[in-house]
Amino acid sequence: MSELEIEALLLSLKVAVISTAIGLPLAIAAAWGLARHAFWGKSLVNALIHAPLVVPPVVIGYLLLISFNPNAPLGRLLDSLFGFSFAFSWTGAALAAGIMGFPLMVRAIRLSFESGDPKLVKAARTLGAGPVRSFFTISLPLAAPGLIAAALLGFARALGEFGATITFVSNIPGLTQTLPLALFSAVQAPGGEDAAFRLMMISLAIALGALFASDILARRVTRQLGHLS
């Protein structure tokens, strides 16, 4: 493997792990709000969260580009406040990947919350647990299979993210060139077949490995929850 391919691999892992790790708690909050609460503007929030599922990724990437480029108001604000920029950096790739994977994570967790039994929460409340304690000790642990599924979906989606990433942060080797972008470049380049094959195998291995690991984890958790004897 060339140095560039290793860089692409490490960058992809970083982008996928970070975007999933930051996206998951936000997805939990969004899923809880959508599953168990009624509030004004709920359908609008729901539509916004799910937009990346139906809007072409290139459109999302372009939207991010015109919002966060160093000359856009949002980009300028971030720069002046924190000296931080998403533009042409791996953080931008993580943002794009996180947004594209977010609706998948929210859906998986929401389903889990909705299939949870509100009667158990009521029992916890009469035993003296407030809403926060009952959420963290009852609702959230019981939604663990959904959380695992969500993490896998978010991770896999981030790993495969292409359109929004290339539009937003471009395809800069060593900087924003993730595995799919490196694979795309290798296919385009004359004589890049060997590199393309290696990158394909790496991508396959990571994705299948993640699927396998989450399956094992989900099975263990399900047993812990007492659904299986």
Partner: protein, 362 residues
């Protein structure tokens, strides 16, 4: 009820098509909330526990106001200290029995050993709720609630859905809970046998309306109760005490008289007897040369006809000033022939073998 009222609640709420208008006053001891299904029993319990909103509610438990629209007090369920044993146990499936028991445990709880021993929970501590039988799960649910040191205990059909053998095994635990705790217990049930065994008072509810709570013995002559029990099983409740035993017969003293039975009750034991109306016959004169051992002198208090059959209420009294009510079911034909009228003296005849173990002990 003359005992000190520990829970006082006035509740009014529209639940679907049911207009709930309830007034509940509970002393220490077991009050059975009895009514047909759909009468609002569980809604009432949920409102007391703060799990369901009511149009109007004023609830006071001991010295604390839990809910009062006037001063807009509305404590959340976790602030009410109302222990709720749900019909379906509701153990947390991802936690061990021990962790379930500790979930709501009151700070400084000293009765861990005591409560675990009383409910025989020690062998179950390491188990997962999914591996427990129905009866075991209910025992854990009861223990979990007791460990939270509630000021009011709600038992929602704690025996429902268990097969008769499991039910019989759970009874002694419930009896212990009901005897050993000085708190008010609201026991929701529509099984009359359970109520007779466990309850001290009956709080009747029908179509969302409550009637003032009655001592167990008095409740059984209430029309709502009679409708619930059904014509076939109508009868009276006597609280008696096993006084002596002779010739294979136990003498049970109750206010207003005594009965002989073949059941070998322990002497000194308090017993609740259910004397079914169809086991009681009536006679104008004291019969002689008859196999029936229990002949009680009384006076007719009521006559209620149901087609070919008539239920005759009889108050039996003795010189000690005690009195109890019995119900006798006889045919319309016999009632005419004996010319029975309210206020007239009569003898109630009960076979010793009809006085059976429908009871609990103190």
């Amino acid at each position: 009820m003359s005992a000190k009222i520990l829970l006082a609640a006035e509740i009014e709420s529209l639940i679907g098509t049911l207009h709930l208008r309830a007034s509940i006053n509970l002393p220490a001891g077991v009050t059975a909330l009895v009514g047909p299904s759909g009468a609002g029993k569980t809604s009432l319990a949920d409102i007391l526990a703060g799990l369901q909103r009511a149009g109007f509610s004023h609830i006071r438990l001991n010295d604390r106001v839990l809910a009062d629209q006037g001063s807009s007090v509305m404590l959340r369920p976790e602030q009410r200290r109302i222990g709720y044993v749900f019909q379906d146990a509701r153990l947390f499936p991802h936690l061990s029995v021990a962790t379930n028991l500790r979930y709501g445990m009151a700070a400084g709880m000293r009765r861990w050993e005591d409560i675990l021993g009383m409910l025989d929970l020690k062998p179950l501590l390491e188990r997962r709720p999914g591996t427990l039988s129905g009866g075991e799960a209910r025992r854990v649910a009861i223990g979990r609630v007791l460990l939270s040191e509630p000021e009011l205990l709600i038992l929602d059909e704690p025996l429902a859905g268990l097969d008769p053998a499991r039910k019989e095994r759970l009874y002694p635990y419930l009896e212990k809970i009901c005897r050993n705790h000085k708190l008010p217990i609201l026991f929701i049930s529509h099984q009359i046998d359970e109520v007779i065994r466990l309850a001290d008072y009956i709080q009747l509810i029908e179509n969302g309306r409550t009637v003032p709570a009655l001592p167990l013995e008095d409740a059984f002559s209430h029309p709502v109760m009679q409708r619930l029990i059904g014509r076939h099983d109508a009868g009276a409740i006597l609280t008696a005490r096993a006084e002596s035993r002779e010739d294979g017969l136990t003498r049970l003293d109750f206010p207003g008289g005594h009965l002989l039975t073949v059941e070998p009750f322990a002497l000194g034991q308090n017993i609740r007897l259910r004397i079914q109306a169809r086991d009681v016959s009536l006679s104008r004169r004291r019969p002689k040369d008859i196999s029936i051992l229990n002949i009680l002198e009384g006076r007719i208090t009521s006559i209620r006809g149901h087609g070919d059959e008539v239920d005759i209420g009889v108050a039996v009294a003795n010189d000690n000033g005690g009195a109890s009510n019995l119900i006798a079911r006889i045919t319309h034909h016999s009632a005419e022939r004996l010319k029975l009228k309210p206020g007239e003296p009569v003898f109630a005849l009960i076979k010793a073998v009809a006085v059976t173990r429908k009871l609990f002990s103190d």
